[in-house]
Amino acid sequence: MMTLQLPSFLLVALILFSVGLYGALTKRNAVIVLLSIELMLNAANINLVAFAKYGLHAAITGQIFTLFSMTVAAAEVAVGLAILIALYRNRATVNIDEMDTMKH
């Protein structure tokens, strides 16, 4: 009876996504916010791969989509970190509460 089923993987991904969402909403360091976003993307990847094996129409397409989303995530991290370094050079802070020039 103790066989692996789809809901267990979905539950792990849901917990990961929730932790990542909490981190992205509450953390003040911009690098940690980027990391939390990576965590959420990874949770989505787990869901895609799980559906590629256990889904109603199980196919390899889920894994291919995971590879594409990984690529996009890597590009996003590179550009995000570049923006962060440029911002740190100009403002000397990584605290997202102090990045409010466009707000006022």
Binding site: M2, T3, L4, Q5, L6, S8, F9, L10, L11, V12, L14, I15, L16, S18, V19, G20, L21, Y22, G23, L25, T26, K27, R28, N29, V31, I32, L35, S36, L39, N42, N45, I46, V49, A52, K53, Y54, L56, A58, I60, T61, Q63, T66, L67, F68, M70, T71, V72, A73, A74, A75, V77, A78, L81, A82, I83, L84, I85, A86, Y88, R89
Partner: protein
Amino acid sequence: MSGSFAAFFILSLLTIGGAVFMISFTRVVHMVISLGVTFLSIAGLFILLEAEFVAVSQVLVYSGAISILMLFGIMLTKHDAIEDGGSRGVNRIVGFLIVAVFFAICFWAIQRTTWPGPAPISQPDVSNAKQIGMEVFTKYVIPFELVSVLLLVALVGAIIMAKKEGDNE
């Protein structure tokens, strides 16, 4: 208890544990290290789901490249920063409430849906990497090329934005 179930239990425990430690640590370098544990265990979960190629790319891209890139980002900014967040208790409570509501709704939906049964027996004669390669180069050629263009654009953009301004030689 079967072996795959035990492996799933340990891997998911490591995954969630790394993520929770990431939230609760105070030094940013420790946060990145514990997230590296999470990324590695997610690769283990992918192997459990018979996605070996995705698992290897997960190790290469996430626990290899992205963790190191994040460490570089921390070292180039404030590497001894302490994350406190204690002065904004209201913000934390509101964030926790939002996440709790989201979690409850999704958990209810997962429990309520009737999922398809156990996976069909996969054909072991074709390797996972070969399957992915055939599919990518027959049905998804244009997205594949677009992704390579996206990587090039991100590379150029990251270099230009991280470059010192007024450095025109």
